[in-house]
């Protein structure tokens, strides 16, 4: 399948893309041994820093780093501009959807979504029905997972509207690239990503509850240093210059949140939480849990604290909801979605089921509420026996499944044992939503499947990361003077 794929630097048929001639030359001129030396230097720094990524169910995660690839992935300025528009539109729709679904539920009244998809979905949290977060923003930080199949063919694979991780990779990978390949930055005009912490802090401050003054107190809430993403939590708190707190550091009194400091209690206005809804407040979510901050939801409901991202967001990035995102975007924006979904057949619909059953050998079939690859069929690699067995399961409970085509993911040259060779990639850009609008950081997390032909980019299964360059061109210089660092910013207020 690898031979079919679009290569983002070399183009199709090996005819390299003229805009990236500098990079192609750099690749040709730098011997693989030199690339390898630099890559090892970067990985050694990451190891020292203890940069780790969430690998669930892996106890050694804290001692692991994800492989880093020295060859960057590049977006042209106009590609990025189009991508940004699509991302902003999608995230605006996600926010509007959350605000609606926990409020007036107009989208259900209009019959766009089946009611049961929401009400019988465990991700729909009755605990936050009727609560409106400060400034009506729910998904302050979204990580939208994209795949690409051609120069202008981007598809959304998954929305992450809860606590998307990986942004520390975007920043640390760039640090490493600037240090190890300075010559590249002389040849290519690359948009800076290092203002992300400032942008994030600005976003947090913008959604502080009204009446907490010019200088709201913001904190990052972590499950603790045993969590596998702890490095990222501490990195973010550190680079924003705010406290990294654990649940035990917070107390709620009279519907306000305070942190316990050596000088007494200090009121907290905005919490960027990196803990799941279930562990936010034991009085509301998990009475059996000793974790969490008792009373936090009461303070939130009283409008005295902003929680980033808002509790209850899981309903927006659920797989069952995903397939309706084009309709959701259309409902709230009145326009067609600029970024398409990967084509999805909902097996609950008889026609889609028929198509799926007829094409099982070419499709990926997933459980709506499954995760970690359970209850999944990958048609092209499955045996006839497996397909026939799955057919019975699917026919028995079609409403639990969706089907998607297997995509020819784009490739990027990557340093491997034998030299530089194409490997499949995906992409997670980060989108920030604050009271002043939605912005996309010009960069993101590129994950690469290091095994030849593999489409699996997960770090637990041989995936690595790359830096993601967004090029500035003459047109982008204008934007740059308006918003520093080439941040595409849309003022919605």
């Amino acid at each position: 399948m690898g031979t079919w794929a679009f290569d983002e630097i070399l183009g199709t048929d090996g005819a390299s893309r003229p805009e990236l001639a500098n990079l192609v030359d750099w690749l040709a001129d730098t011997p693989p041994d030199e690339l390898r030396r630099r890559q090892e230097a970067a990985e050694s720094t990451f190891r020292q820093l203890g940069i780790t990524f969430a690998v669930y169910g892996d106890n050694d995660a804290s001692e692991r780093i994800i492989p880093f690839d020295i060859v960057p992935r590049v977006f042209l300025a106009d590609e990025w501009a189009r991508l940004s528009e699509g991302l902003i539109q999608r995230v605006e729709a996600i926010n509007a959807f959350l605000d609606d679904i926990y409020g007036a539920q107009e989208i259900l009244k209009a019959g766009v979504l089946p009611e049961d998809l929401i009400f019988l979905n465990p991700q729909f949290r009755p605990e936050v029905v009727g609560i409106r977060p400060p400034h009506g923003i729910w998904a302050h930080i979204c990580g939208i997972d994209l795949v690409r199949t051609g120069p202008d063919q981007f598809f959304v694979l998954e929305d992450n509207a809860r606590t998307p991780s990986g942004v520390s990779y975007m920043l640390e990978n760039r640090e490493a690239m600037v240090r190890l390949c300075p010559e590249l930055f002389g040849q290519l005009r690359v948009a800076a990503v290092d203002s992300y912490p400032d942008r994030l802090l600005e976003t947090m401050r913008s959604v502080a509850p009204r009446g907490c003054g010019q200088n709201p107190t913001c904190v990052v809430l972590t499950p603790g240093h045993y969590n596998s993403a702890y490095y990222e939590h501490s990195f973010l708190a550190d680079s924003m210059g705010i406290e990294l707190v654990e649940a035990a550091d917070l107390v709620v009194d009279n519907d306000a949140v305070y942190m316990r400091t050596i000088a007494g209690r200090v009121k907290v206005d905005v919490i960027y939480r990196r803990v799941d809804d279930d562990f936010l407040d034991p009085l509301v979510f998990r009475p059996d849990s000793m974790l969490g901050v008792p009373g936090l939801i009461a303070a939130y409901a009283a409008g005295n604290v902003a929680i980033i991202n808002a509790p209850g967001n899981g309903i927006a990035d659920d797989k069952a909801i995903y397939s309706y995102m084009p309709e959701i975007v259309r409902f709230y924006s009145g326009k067609e979605a600029k970024l398409p979904n990967v084509e999805t057949w909902r097996c609950r619909e008889p026609e889609a089921l028929r198509y799926t059953l007829d094409n099982l050998d070419q499709l990926v079939v997933k459980l709506v509420d499954g995760s970690g690859g359970y209850g999944m069929l990958v048609g092209p690699t499955a045996s006839n026996g497996e397909i026939e067995k799955f057919r019975q399961v699917l026919e028995a409970e079609p409403h639990r499944y969706i089907a998607q085509p297997t995509l020819a993911l784009s490739t990027v040259p990557t340093l491997v044992e034998s030299g530089v060779a194409p490997r499949h990639v995906d992409f997670r850009p980060f989108v920030l939503s604050g009271a002043k609008g939605v912005q996309v950081v010009p960069g993101g997390l590129t994950r690469v499947a290091l095994r030849e032909g593999s489409l699996v980019v997960n770090s637990s299964q041989g995936g690595g990361t790359k830096d993601s360059f967004v090029l500035l061109d003459e047109g982008m210089k204008q934007t740059q003077t308006m918003g520093p660092d080439g941040m595409t910013q849309e003022q919605s207020l």
């Binding site: 603790g224 240093h225 501490s234 654990e246 035990a248 316990r260 400091t261 050596i262 000088a263 007494g264």
Partner: protein, 311 residues
Amino acid sequence: MLSRTASSLYWLGRYIERADFIARLVEATIRLDVLSARPAGEAAWLSALTVTDTEAAFKATGASLTREAVSRFLTSDSSNPGSLVRCLDMARMNARAVRIALTRESWSAINSAWLVFDKRVARADTDRTLALVDAVKHETRGFEGALHRMLRNQTTLFIRLGQATERVDDTARLLDVKYHLLLPEGAEVGGTVDRDQWTTILQTVSAVTAYRWLYNDGLVPANVIDLLLTRSELPRSVAGAIEEVTDVLTQLARRTGTNGEADRMARSRHARALKTRSGDVIVSGLHQHLQAVIAENDQLHAAIARQFKFH
């Protein structure tokens, strides 16, 4: 600063200091043991257990009072909560919880000290034990250096507060136990005694050279007591550690703008320490004095925990 962070930094300071103290104690005791006849050697190990308050715990293991057994118990025995390895374990755990407050250099010093035990779990013969405690001392010195290169902010102050508080306790215990044990039956307080035994005490608090600088009349127990009890020039003396505690608390008060129970207790203790004359203490009862120092240090520790809301 978060109370939890302050608490972890303070405990990090205490545990790293205790680890360093145990390393020195074991090293000095080995030296004394090697130089002495058998019964004196046994007594030296017993006193090391008494100083670290682990006499009963050691008895419970059923091991006999040998150099090998005790030095293993005090260093690499992870079932002994007072052992070197457990102190380093606790230091590292606290450091990990405040990882971002520390510089990479200080963190790796603690981590390396902890890793010393990872590689040497085998038998505790004398050479190996000496190499082990030497490695630990090397790393704690590295930590001390890294600490000095860190910003002089609340982070370093809380670590130093923990270290100084621990030091008061360690030196007072050392002096209390050794003095009674080492003073030979019938020997006059203030007379000249066995150099080796007194050298052990000075070595444990790294004060052999300081002693020579400050006193000209050879090894005299009253002088050793004077040095360890009242000379604040010596960082590991009781007076020096008491001064450091007061000093650190004053700096913290300036930064946090609060002045509480612990500050008042520390200042009053410091004022009394300045007036303490070792001669008077020896006459009126060194043991009682040291017991009072230890008890007051515990009270101050509790006051610190309350003032900075460690719980």
